[in-house]
Amino acid sequence: MSDALKQSLDLSMFWEYRAILLQGLIFNVLVFLCAASVALSVGLGAALLRINRLWPMRLIGTLHVEIFRNAPDYIMLVWVHFVLPLLIGIAIRRRVEFHPFTSAVIALGFVYSGYFAEGFRAGIQAIPQGNLDAGRSFGMSERLILWRIILPQVVRRMLPEALNLFVSMFKATTIVSLIAVPDLMYNVSMVIQQEMRPLPLYTGAAITYFLLIFLLSVGVRHFGERWRRTSMA
């Protein structure tokens, strides 16, 4: 048993392939950045729908949130990559294929838009009505009120929670290897196929991710505490 343990902790192999693995990690970061943008914008849109005056809009917003918050990442990934192109293809009568990167960004972006939408909604509804009354009394349009009064306060309030969601999202990007996006885990499996030595590689991947995410989490936690104390002027 100790032989296997030694083998798995022998990270020289992991180190040897570090260039390829680093490239993979960069893909994780890219997917994360794009998906995060999607999640933020779609999430904001859904949150605004949820508090709209018209009930059909509210219904759409609620459906969006409930569907995507309760959907497993992996099934969404598979569905977006394999089913959505077919549906679009049927609609426009042409063959459509998604690049795996695109599918990953759309799937993860929409799943996490559900979580962001809830956060945005809670933040918006926490703003005292008086702030809005004052804005309206000065003749500010609803759009002005949203951008100058509501959103700045919502962002300040929500920042710690949003950062936590971002860390979760980054962890979720590891599954994109399953639709052949060349991220870290994908490259790890490629190397394993070549070298036939899974122990150090999987262990190395686990340790790498652990260290990376650990540092991010600790950073976010500290920032969150300081933010809560000093912000909310």
Partner: protein, 288 residues
């Protein structure tokens, strides 16, 4: 003699002066100058409850009209109807002769105004709220220049210059770069008054501006309001401060259960109240 009247002794004669000396005259009969604000037959209900049941009065230019009454009489709702924060169910508000809720086109047809048009007219009314409602994520100066820049589209330099002047007027200039959370209630309210003034409104609406303040802080805000009145600002003041109403107003309106129960110059309303309900109401404040 009210401070406002004293200040205007030396000013050119306006029709409003004549008006204020004619007690209990129905507004529409005496008018030859357009009042700053005309409230005409306002009705408002919330669900089954009818809060305003037909309120009418005029606010001539440069005058101070106080609205008093018990809680639940509809005072705050009335003020919120004046700038359409609550659209009235019936009746109309006229700002310098222009109806706020609807437009009358060339052929005399009434067309409801869009929100954008109403917003444009709201610029002419400055509102000071009971809860101050300063925007917490901006400094005092930021609050003051926000609407002039975004709504009146003034260049930033101009907005800052006039904004600082307004802050000086309410004696808050040294707190211009503070955030609202660091200020006392009285300071916040004065900042809110400066914010409203910075839009150069035609009239100022005060919705129980001192009701949220501790007694010590109330005086500093009332002082500012008195100065504004003395400068000839057109004001509608919803208030519990009877001494202020008596000393500063040109006209007092007593609201009871959604109707104007009695109105007139302060001397008459406070000195010789006709309606029994007004007498009861005032007796509670006699000790003040």
């Amino acid at each position: 003699m009210s401070i406002a009247r004293a200040a205007r002794e030396s000013a050119p004669i306006f029709m409003s002066q004549v008006l204020s000396q004619v007690p209990n005259e129905a507004p529409s009969q005496v008018l030859s100058e357009v009042p700053s604000i005309r409230v005409a037959g306002i009705h408002k209900r919330f669900g089954p409850l009818e809060v305003l049941r037909g309120v009418s009065f005029d606010v001539p230019r440069g005058s101070v009209v106080s609205v008093i009454g018990a809680s639940g009489s509809g005072k705050s709702t009335l003020l919120r109807c004046v700038n359409h924060l609550e659209p009235p169910d019936a009746g109309e508000i006229y700002i310098e002769g222009e109806p706020l809720g609807a437009r009358v086109d060339a052929r005399g047809n009434r067309k409801a105004r869009s929100l954008a048009e109403i917003n444009a007219m709201r610029r002419e009314l400055g509102v000071v709220f009971q809860q101050f409602n300063l925007w917490p994520h901006m400094t005092v100066l930021g609050n003051v220049i926000e609407a002039p820049i975004r709504v009146r589209k003034l260049p930033r330099k101009e907005a800052v210059a006039y904004g600082e002047e307004c802050l000086r007027r309410v004696r808050m200039i040294d707190k211009a770069n503070e955030y609202p959370a660091r200020l006392s209630g009285g300071q916040q309210q004065r900042a809110a008054i400066a914010r409203a003034l910075a839009m150069r409104p035609k009239a100022m609406l005060f919705d129980e501006a001192t009701s949220s303040l501790d007694p010590e802080l109330t005086d500093e805000v009332l002082g500012v309001m008195r100065e504004l009145a003395a400068d000839g600002t057109t004001m509608i003041v919803v208030t519990h401060e009877m001494s202020f109403a008596r000393e500063v107003s040109d006209r007092v309106i007593f609201l009871h259960q959604g109707l104007v129960e009695e109105e007139g110059p302060p001397g008459d309303v406070f000195g010789a109240p006709k309606s029994e309900r007004l007498q009861q109401f005032l007796s509670k404040y006699r000790k003040q």
